[in-house]
Symmetry: C2
Subunit: 348 residues, 2 copies
DNA sequence: CTGTTAGCGCGTTCAC
DNA sequence: GTGAACGCGCTAACAG
């Protein structure tokens, strides 16, 4: 191998010339080695070696072939958030599984929440897109749609022309809400943010402003139905809206609720991360779970089993895989399943 | 927007023709809007809209420009492993931080451990590579080097022509080994696998076969120095080699050790994940930490603080960022720092 | 088995 | 401010 690792680009044509063969013979040497005589192939490889040819240029190949063999993944307003949320990481693992099987790459598109997100999406060399759940008004959705490539949205919103992979959040919320608040006198809910401004607030069911995150909206509707079915007016449910899906924030807000004059005796959270924070706050406040406070989570993460959390089980990994299949142009798989897991954090 | 979302590809030339302008005017409309009259621009955009033009093709652009604005990341024999190891995820977050800042994408190259890994790397349309720590004999290294693109290896091995980002594992192992085994009579070590075959075994310092993972090798050397400095012959150290970096496996193997005739009274592990498994095994066996068994981890992950683990702190996130900078062609940052964190899992 | 032709879709020339 | 050529590096589709 030539040691002069220079910046100069060596082309297949140069290799062919040096080897004394046509460009196509050189190309075949890399792509269809069986169609080339041993003699020609070794001449080509020798020439490549001498010239320091790095192999066919992937961009040129993609252009010629008309496909990049890569899927794009858009993970929400700030990219590194994707790596901080364990459920998002599971989802990515599911995407990775399918990409590995199909030999395609997985490009994470660098999103910042700023105006140039649209350009970053338009400039991504990918065959299809996967969008992690976002708000109804996220410009990313239109940008992805404008590429006219196959795309799947996880969670929501549903967008014409793109696949949607999501459990029935409303039904699941109804089911776990019923368990969480059974027999409760002062029910509370720790919620994901309602919209992109991610404003935190402690409010109640009657005072909820517009909710633009569809997953959050559907869950709130389900919880409302659960409350009303249990004879609890929605406005009597205390709702702590968090800025992020985060154990520490949930712990702080739960501590506040538990220290109030009318502390909740049943707290439903929208994720196991949040619920784990709530459990810590409850313990710190000297309450027993579930007798003083019933607590529920969502996702059936590892922490849920550890803490004995009643939760909604769903496989983010499978959902990531489904999204990837859609982005590859496969037909959409059926609606993903969920189930209620009853453990010891709720009253029997 | 035209609704007939067909599969047919619309080119810039067609848009230009329909708009009654030259191709370059159409191109400028997308790339240098200031160099085009308002009138021409709106004609172009209208034509694009009518034709359903999706915008300039990213592959063609990359080819023309000579760069893809994307970094490739190679995460070890099996891709989804990357998403199961929390430290690997931190590392990816660091890469993502830099990619976001520089507006470049991040392509995870789908590796399976099979022979076609090399082809997958050669065919990745990226400007540079980042390789997660691997073995000396991993063919991926040669494949990355053959692309002649800037590349950084995290952890090791060191390869000519590629940057290396790694703490001094030997020194760190020496330091934490000294604390772990201080005053111990029956020291043990829970180790990462030694080579790509990932064979699990319980052995001792004298019976170690060839170690081809350089990070593991360097740590073993450091631990050996720590043992000998404490007057413990290396062959007296029980070494439990695990197949993977995994809490559950470490728990099983630690349980075995603790149930043996001569149970260890000090166990050093190579990660906090492993150490957390060891702590669970110790508790299950009715031992107190650190009195009956001293335990150390590595990484200073969240779980280390929770369990009070003495550990080696390092920032995988910063190291990911450093790798990304190198892959972008920036000069290599200085050697990353580590420090010893003493908590309550070791004897004072 | 090997060579020739003809672009893939775009953007950097350089003229006008 | 706009237009006409040319080629980025490669490979499908044909000959031969």
């Amino acid at each position: 191998m030539e040691a002069s690792g220079g910046a100069k680009r060596v082309t297949l044509a140069q290799v062919a010339e040096r080897a004394g063969v046509s460009v196509m013979t050189a190309s075949y040497t890399y792509n269809r080695p069986d169609r080339v005589s041993d003699q020609a192939r070794s001449k080509v490889l020798a020439a490549a070696d001498e010239l320091g040819y790095a192999g066919p240029d992937p961009s040129a190949r993609s252009l010629r072939r008309g496909s990049t063999r890569t899927l794009g993944v858009v993970m929400g307003e700030h990219l590194s958030y994707a790596f901080e949320d364990p459920e998002a990481v599971s989802f990515l693992a599911g995407v990775a599984d399918v990409c590995t099987d199909h030999g395609c790459g997985m490009t994470i598109v660098p999103i910042t929440g700023a105006a140039d997100d649209v350009a970053r999406i338009a400039d991504a060399a990918v065959d299809g897109f996967i969008v992690w759940t976002t708000s109804d008004d996220d410009p990313v959705l239109a940008a992805v749609r404008a590429t006219r490539r196959p795309a799947a949205v996880h969670g929501g919103p549903a967008v014409g022309g793109m696949g949607l992979v999501s459990i029935d959040n409303r039904a699941a919320a109804r089911a776990i809400g019923a368990v969480a608040w059974a027999g409760a006198e002062r029910p509370a809910l720790v919620s994901f943010p309602l919209s992109r401004d991610r404003r935190a607030a402690i409010t109640n069911g009657a005072a909820l402003p517009g909710v633009t995150f569809p997953v959050t909206r559907e869950r709130l509707e389900g919880y409302r139905q659960a409350a009303e079915a249990a004879g609890i007016p929605w406005q009597d449910v205390t709702i702590a809206v968090c800025a992020r899906n985060d154990a520490a924030e949930a712990e702080r807000v739960a501590a506040t609720l538990l220290a109030s004059a009318e502390p909740p005796d049943a707290i439903a959270a929208m994720s196991d991360q949040q619920a784990s924070g709530v459990v810590r706050a409850a313990r710190a406040a000297g309450r027993t779970v579930p007798d003083d406070v019933a607590i529920t989570g969502w996702d059936d993460a590892a922490v849920a089993a550890r803490l004995g959390l009643t939760t909604v089980a769903q496989s983010l990994r499978d959902q990531g895989a489904s999204c990837a299949l859609i982005a590859l142009g496969r037909p959409a798989p059926r609606t993903p399943a969920w189930s209620l897991i009853r453990r010891t954090s709720t009253r029997p």
